[in-house]
């Protein structure tokens, strides 16, 4: 396949940045999107040009590192798919593809497609610890947790922290991320102890780190590569109200 790529090039957070058109003349439909970019970079390197900086790590859809807005949608718009799991067979010969970084005040661009997602880490840090008893290892079944609760918590824990929710949100809100992190612990006996402090601290950290407010567009769920549900934002809101009144 022959593709025309419009890739965002930016030297740093203070650089203005612009789209640069780069041809990809020999793309295999079996390649992943990142492999295609590897080839593009290889060609750029041979020509002595500056390669396109992009984030990646596991390349199997579980680490949350790859973070590109492809044709206006974080991760490219294929349902529940990260960029690394997006394959070139989804595109047609002659396609023009726009590749841009996450854009949000909370995610300053480091270079090209790489952004600083430290804001999400700050929210996690604000979440703090969960209390546990010290001493010997607890019996496996000493703390029974019902299957529906365990499933609910695991669904929330599917979040890989990629930041697509922020990138897709018209308000750059991190409420789906925060909701998932709050909800996964709030329903478990281990997490209930600090639940009230946690929800207050995490929502405050989201605000302090420059994320916007949720106004219920639900773009976050639509673009989440793990399909994390906005019901976890409702759960966060319930937990917040509980913390307010007690």
């Amino acid at each position: 396949m022959k593709l025309k790529l419009h890739i965002w090039r930016q030297n740093g957070p203070n650089d203005k940045g612009k789209l640069e058109t780069i041809d990809a003349p020999n793309v295999s439909p079996d390649q992943s999107f990142l492999e295609m970019l590897d080839d593009v970079n290889q060609a750029l390197a041979i020509e002595g040009k500056d390669v396109v900086a992009f984030d990646h790590d596991c390349r199997e859809g579980i680490c949350g590192m790859c973070s590109q807005v492809i044709n206006g949608v974080p991760h490219g718009g294929q349902e529940r798919t990260t960029v690394c799991q997006l394959h070139m067979r989804k595109f047609k010969d002659g396609d023009e593809i726009f590749i841009e970084p996450w854009k949000a005040r909370a995610f300053p661009v480091i270079k090209d497609l790489v952004v600083d997602r430290d804001g999400l880490e700050k929210i996690m840090q604000a979440g703090g610890y969960t209390s546990c008893h010290t001493g010997g290892v607890a019996d496996g079944n000493a703390l029974p947790i019902g299957k529906p609760i365990a499933d609910y918590s695991m669904d929330a824990a599917e979040c890989i922290g990629c930041g697509a929710c922020v990138a897709s949100c018209p308000n750059s809100s991190a409420m789906l991320f925060t909701g998932a992190k709050v909800a996964q612990l709030a329903v478990l006996p281990q997490g209930k102890i600090e639940a009230q402090r946690r929800v207050m601290a995490m929502t405050e950290a989201a605000k302090e780190n420059g994320f916007g407010n949720c106004s219920n567009h639900y773009e976050c769920q639509a673009s989440c590569p793990k399909g994390v549900d906005v019901k976890f934002i409702a759960k966060l809101n319930r937990e917040y109200m509980k913390a307010l009144v007690t």
């Binding site: 718009g77 841009e100 854009k103 219920n216 409702a234 319930r238």
Partner: protein, 222 residues
């Protein structure tokens, strides 16, 4: 402090004041719909409201407070949201949200100006003083006469239809949004809330707009 400064706290305030405002809009439509029964019905309804005396003023103050709080926090949250997204991508494709949800601040602004006009038109009686004629000797106004003559010109009809289209857009997103904000939704109920929200908005639009349109059509007349 948490309630008035935090992200979720202010959204809760938006939701609660939203409930007050949309409930009023629904009750107001029910009251207005007595015009379909006839002149005596809507005049009797107006008389009943006036007989409440000081309670009317308590009610008006509560409404004014809800309206003001909803506007102030709405503007504040929107400005913060704009600041959180200083620059958009060159290509933006939305997958889920709609026109109504993305234009809440615009529809809210239009509704504000519409409400001001509506109050000047029918409550403070500034824009069209000629439509007021007394009813009886209790200081009452003939509300039926006021409404029918109030929609004689093209300007009020256009203003009301436009204002109510924006109300439809605002309520269509707002109702499901308040359920989500107050934590009253889950994955099963949220799509139903979305449809309910649109339905309420549509009923309000049709209900309210039908009055000036039926007057223009000559079906409601003196």
């Amino acid at each position: 402090m948490q309630l008035t400064q935090s992200s979720v706290g202010r959204k809760i305030i938006m939701a609660v004041t939203g409930i007050v405002l949309v409930s009023f809009v629904c009750v107001h439509l029910l009251g207005n719909s007595s015009i379909f029964v006839g002149a005596d019905a809507i005049n009797a309804y107006a008389q009943k409201l006036h007989s409440l005396g000081p309670f009317v003023w308590v009610f008006r103050l509560v409404m004014l407070a809800a309206f003001a709080i909803h506007i102030v926090f709405g503007i504040q949250l929107t400005l913060e949201n704009k600041a959180a997204t200083p620059e958009s991508n060159m290509q933006v494709k939305r997958l889920k949200t709609g026109f109504g949800a993305e234009t809440m601040i615009v529809s809210g602004g239009v509704i504000f100006f519409f409400v001001v006009y509506h109050l000047l038109h029918f409550t403070v009686r500034v824009t069209n003083p000629e439509i007021y004629v007394p009813l009886g000797d209790q200081g009452m106004v003939n509300v039926y006469f006021m409404m029918v003559n109030g929609f004689k010109g093209a300007l009020p009809v256009i203003a009301y239809v436009a204002g109510l289209i924006f109300l439809f857009l605002h309520v269509g997103h707002g109702i499901q949004s308040l359920f989500q904000t107050l934590g009253l939704s889950n994955d099963k109920s949220l799509p139903v809330m979305g449809m309910f929200s649109q339905l309420v908005g549509f009923v309000l639009l049709v209900g309210y707009v039908s009055i000036p349109l039926l007057i223009v059509a000559g079906l409601i007349k003196i």
